[in-house]
């Protein structure tokens, strides 16, 4: 039987408020580092590898994963846990840095790009693809952010007894305070602390769950006896192996097209430090997912197989421990996971509006040079507006907010993965190929969802496949980009001293 806080838990609330005050102080302290637009959006490309790795992990593993990860393992069992661990550590811990982040950062240093739409606009010599991407990002970040905000507020309710509405408002204010004051500088350094606390919270809860269950072997033996389907090899509880792997690996593949993660790569100080990032990220991800799996299994062990809302399992296990310290630590971990993702989403959405729509499209169309100070000011205003919209929607959540966030993340992944990856590694990729890849990827993903085919495979997968096929076919029959751009992206000896052209100044064809 799941039990939750029925009254305000002042210890948990006090610890979390103290933690959030520390974040705000760090954000305000970082304010002096913001002297230019690049400082606000990508930390002036001065962020070190360990901070970048933690910032990436903290942004990727949000409250959805802290709360929803154990919930998925509770529902699907070992046949979800093991492929997920294998895929996540390899794909999002190693592959994404070695084949995507490294080259993206090198090229961004040459082009001056600070956002995904800006990057695509330069690669494909097209303002239109930049504009389409920026609009998609600005819109799709909203439901994603709302679900994260809702997740944190739910955690406050379960572990702190704080009314849901209060939780939403407090989190939005804290995020606004450090995000508006220092942009990506504040995000990166607070994420370092958040990343450490997320892993610490998960590890402590796991130790409690496993030791209370009498050890891993005892816990698994009981689950094997009572729920043999939950410990079966894949497809196990899934309909078939394709559904199993698509659900297990979908979030890992989606990462390749997530603008808020790509921004982290653009802020890296030195591309050669990518090895350090990989070596920090992989153990972090492996530990996080192992803890997530054991907590989910603990849910089966302690609560049986009939929990109506499995999302409540991990907060409920923390609450059941009776330890105020453990509860406070887990609540802080959940808040940290949510806040780090939320601020990354808000900054990306704000950059899409300010940098890609206002500066690169509107100002360039009016043939007026964007003013640096005005742009930072506008970014801050847009940041607050985006947060206000998310806060309003979180206060009036629709029933399918979780579904919408998965759909939003999947849609961005389906639309952007092909233009990014193909653009980085295939010289013949063209402007029209990229535009149609974004359009078809997004359309197929949404239509697949609307046609209610998600039970077969996640909508992201067919969307991404169609997007890759489209960019290949269309690029074969359309005009390639200029030699100057190809040189910028593929030439080892490209000199950035003589040829560096800021994204906003590149003469683009519409």
């Amino acid at each position: 039987m799941i039990t939750e806080a029925t009254e305000m838990n002042w210890f948990n609330i006090g610890a979390t408020v103290l933690y959030m005050l520390i974040l705000v102080v760090i954000g305000l302290a970082m304010n002096k580092k913001v002297k230019s637009r690049d400082d606000y959006w990508v930390g002036g490309r001065q962020i070190g590898p360990v901070v970048t790795a933690m910032s990436y992990c903290a942004a990727y593993y949000s409250t959805v994963m802290v709360i929803g990860g154990p919930s998925m393992i509770y529902r699907y069992g070992i046949c979800y846990m093991m492929p997920n661990m294998l895929g996540a550590t390899f794909t999002t811990g190693i592959l994404i840095f070695l084949i995507l982040a490294l080259k993206m950062r090198v090229v961004a240093g040459r082009t001056g790009s600070v956002s995904l739409p800006g990057f695509l606009a330069v690669r494909y010599e097209s303002k239109i693809i930049g504009l389409i991407s920026a609009i998609l990002i600005a819109i799709l970040m909203i439901p994603y952010g709302v679900s994260v905000l809702k997740g944190i507020a739910d955690g406050f309710t379960v572990l702190g007894g704080v009314p849901y509405e209060t939780g939403v408002i407090v989190i939005a204010i804290v995020a606004a305070l450090y995000l508006v004051s220092s942009g990506y500088w504040g995000i990166a350094w607070t994420d370092l602390i958040q990343g450490i606390l997320i892993s610490l919270g998960m590890v402590v809860l796991t130790v409690y769950v496993v030791s209370s269950a009498g050890g891993v072997t005892h816990m698994m033996n009981k689950i094997t006896a009572e729920f043999p389907e939950k410990v079966a090899s894949p497809p196990g509880t899934f309909n078939n192996i394709f559904q199993c792997l698509s659900i297990c690996w979908v979030w890992q593949l989606i990462a390749f097209g997530q603008p808020q993660l790509v921004t982290k790569f653009l802020g890296l100080k030195d591309p050669r430090t990518i090895k350090t990032i990989v070596r920090v990220s992989v153990p972090w991800i492996a530990i996080f997912l192992m803890c997530s799996g054991l907590i989910g299994m603990g849910g089966l062990y302690f609560y049986g197989g009939n929990v109506a809302n499995p999302d409540r399992i991990s907060p409920a296990l923390a609450f059941a421990s009776g330890s105020l310290l453990l509860q406070a630590l887990f609540l802080i971990a959940a808040v940290a996971a949510g806040l780090s993702t939320l601020v990354a989403l808000v900054l990306t959405s704000s950059a899409a509006v300010t940098r890609d729509i206002y500066e690169d499209y509107y100002c360039s169309k009016k043939e007026s040079a964007p003013d640096g100070k005005k742009s930072i000011g506008l970014s801050r205003v847009v940041t607050v507006v985006v947060l206000l919209v998310m806060m309003y929607l979180a206060l009036h959540p629709w029933d399918f907010v979780w579904e919408m966030s998965t759909l939003a993340a999947g849609t961005m992944g389906a639309g952007f993965a092909a233009p990014i990856m193909v653009g980085l590694y295939w010289k013949k990729a063209t402007k029209k190929g990229a535009i149609w890849a974004v359009i078809t990827g997004v359309l197929v993903d949404v239509l697949w969802y609307v046609a209610d085919l998600s039970d077969l495979v996640h909508p992201f997968l067919p969307g991404m496949i169609v997007s890759f096929i489209t960019i290949y076919i269309v690029s074969l029959v359309t005009q390639p980009v200029s030699k100057e751009t190809i040189s910028m992206f593929f030439d080892k000896d490209y000199s950035r001293d003589t040829k560096k052209i800021p994204a906003s100044e590149v003469i683009l064809q519409g």
């Binding site: 294998l86 094997t224 990989v278 080892k492």
Partner: protein, 46 residues
């Protein structure tokens, strides 16, 4: 039954997923294969 109450296939996946991937994260970026790929686009040892 494999250690920790797991079946053997899942136990092997676990062994590969955690220590195996950590090991890979140290080995892979040091391989000649990887350096050749990287060296195509910029001077890795610059």
């Amino acid at each position: 039954m494999a250690p920790f109450g797991l079946n053997w296939p899942m136990f092997l996946v676990w062994i590969v997923a955690v220590p195996g991937m950590i090991l890979l994260s140290w080995i892979l970026p040091e391989t000649k294969w990887w350096e050749r790929i990287v060296a195509k686009y910029f001077d890795w040892k610059e």
